[in-house]
Symmetry: C2
Subunit: 329 residues, 2 copies
């Protein structure tokens, strides 16, 4: 099922989202990395969305969605499901807009992510990732309360909100007089990369867009190869907890079909190597799922030599035990 | 002994240093922190010099010094002593300028700092911090080879090089339309804070400058109170290995006398709390000595409410064992 291009988000839609987020979301810097440039033989820039509010890009889309709800919708509260970063994004956006939020989170969600979600004032309901359907739980709550379900990647305003990270990359690159040959971005359900690709391709059609998924959760890679949406066999079992969406979004898949060069996969070991590299050499705290773009590059999965590239760190919310596992490598 | 003002570095001297470092040192971003602003009830900005080349501000001064050596001096090589960050700064600057560097490092220097110094191609000679004089060892090597000794904080070009961090803070603040009420900066020998204060006070005389030292190594605090240079009783015994200079510099002391509002002290526990906070909430990797400004603010040692403030992270080179000690808090 291909979404008609006429209803796909445009660069202008992302620019409008950026206006809504102006002064609310953090304009994260574009960091040139001399050490990574030497390591990869490329001119490397990092967009550190781990430095975004809630420690992940997810605040962008959540706020862009929630700020446009009607007063009636705001009064009824919102429901969302997420392993953690979308949970935190919705919880903080709801707090800032004075909206009650109920978040359905898996029992194996990182403790930091659950604690922060509670800390922003949201109500958390747990489910078992292997045996229960988070969609069904969220839908039941929403039906009962007539609440809006805030999708983590299917929604137009979520996609355009996440895309503001890509718009900033282009604006910040232009300030430096830089054109990017390649952009590398983690993929869960595809909201971030769809929005970013829309902004980047809208300004620089020649920039190649690469997505990165965890091994065993390569639904987007297989879907693009098959030409139709495929699902993952497993729902859990990777340290990249932020990237375990079961299949590409109905709305993000056609955007990814249109814009993505290809999708690379990395295993947990490679993700941990990247987490340690970011700590050791870049002095940035990145969670395993947030570091998969760096992981793919450090593992040499694509030729970047002599290129000007940007890679995005999507989040930095990681429990100490997992972080120490990375440092021990 | 007060240095005549006529030979103190000026704002213009720091601007000249910035020209030498343009395109060589990283222009680290000025990061607004919403979460820290809420925590402290202030408008908080961070200058993350842990994101500088070699993971610390020290590259600025080292390059500014070494790039001005004569060809004869360059050919004879340089000597420096340092527990690690200055070591790395001199080693990398020397590598870039094709100069042989010998670095005298204490046996208890962090492994990461020694390994990186070796990695940049420097020759490392170890000494015992408690029983040997690093100055004497370095002077003997320098006399033998007719080499320049690159001081970590006494030298004019070192001070002006470090001051470029302060100049950037003012330029980046001006771009945002911000005037800083207060600036918070770690103190070892005083090179960084002297240079930064010169730049900041040169542009904004009303900005208050606060220095932070580790408890038990508060030589600058006591020196300012006594009106003459005092020494620390101990030479080792703090996790803030970057800040254990025995006494204020002859050349930095009068600059600190002129510009500093006061000096605060923090203990190792408070420094570790700040290291963890930076990891947890800011997603930045900071070493204990690099985090003392944040430590002082989190411990409520000075009133910052309603103020617009900037704090500087001076470095992020920390061994995994110490980092995990912080995460375990």
């Amino acid at each position: 099922m291909i979404m008609p291009e006429s209803i796909m988000p445009s660069l202008q839609d992302i620019q409008k989202a950026a206006e809504r987020l102006n002064g609310v979301a953090t304009r994260t810097p574009l960091l040139p990395s001399i050490i990574l440039s030497e390591e990869l033989g490329a001119q490397v820039f990092i967009k550190p969305e781990n430095l975004q509010r809630v420690g992940a890009f997810k605040f962008r889309g959540a706020y862009n969605r929630l700020c446009q709800l009607s007063d009636t919708e705001k009064a009824r509260g919102v429901v969302a499901f997420s392993s953690g970063n979308h949970a935190q994004g919705v919880a903080l956006a709801a707090k800032l807009l004075d909206i009650h939020a109920i978040i359905v989170m898996p029992t194996d969600a990182p403790v930091m992510k659950r604690d922060n979600t509670l800390g922003y004032g949201a109500e958390v309901i747990e489910y078992d990732r292997e045996t229960e359907s988070r969609e069904e739980i969220a839908d039941a709550i929403a039906a009962d309360r007539k609440s809006v379900v805030v999708s983590s990647f299917e929604d137009f305003d979520i996609i355009t909100g996440q895309g503001t990270a890509g718009l900033e990359i282009m604006e910040q690159g232009q300030e430096l007089g830089i054109t990017f040959d390649q952009f590398f971005c983690p993929i869960g359900g595809g909201g971030l990369i769809s929005g970013c690709a829309t902004a980047i391709k809208g300004i620089s059609p020649a920039t190649e867009i690469y997505g990165i998924e965890p091994e065993g959760f390569d639904d987007v890679k297989r879907s693009l190869e098959m030409g139709s949406r495929q699902s993952n066999k497993q729902q859990a079992g990777s340290l990249c907890d932020a990237l375990l969406s079961p299949s590409p979004g109905i709305n993000t898949f056609p955007i990814m079909q249109k814009y993505l060069e290809s999708v690379l996969t990395v295993n947990d070991d490679e993700a941990l190597v990247a987490v340690k590299y970011a700590w050791d050499k870049l002095k940035l705290v990145v969670e395993p799922g947030g570091a998969v773009a760096l992981a793919a590059l450090l593992a040499g999965k694509v030729d970047v030599r002599e290129k000007t590239i940007c890679l995005l760190f999507s989040g930095g919310n990681v429990d100490a035990a997992i972080f120490e596992l990375a440092l021990g490598r």
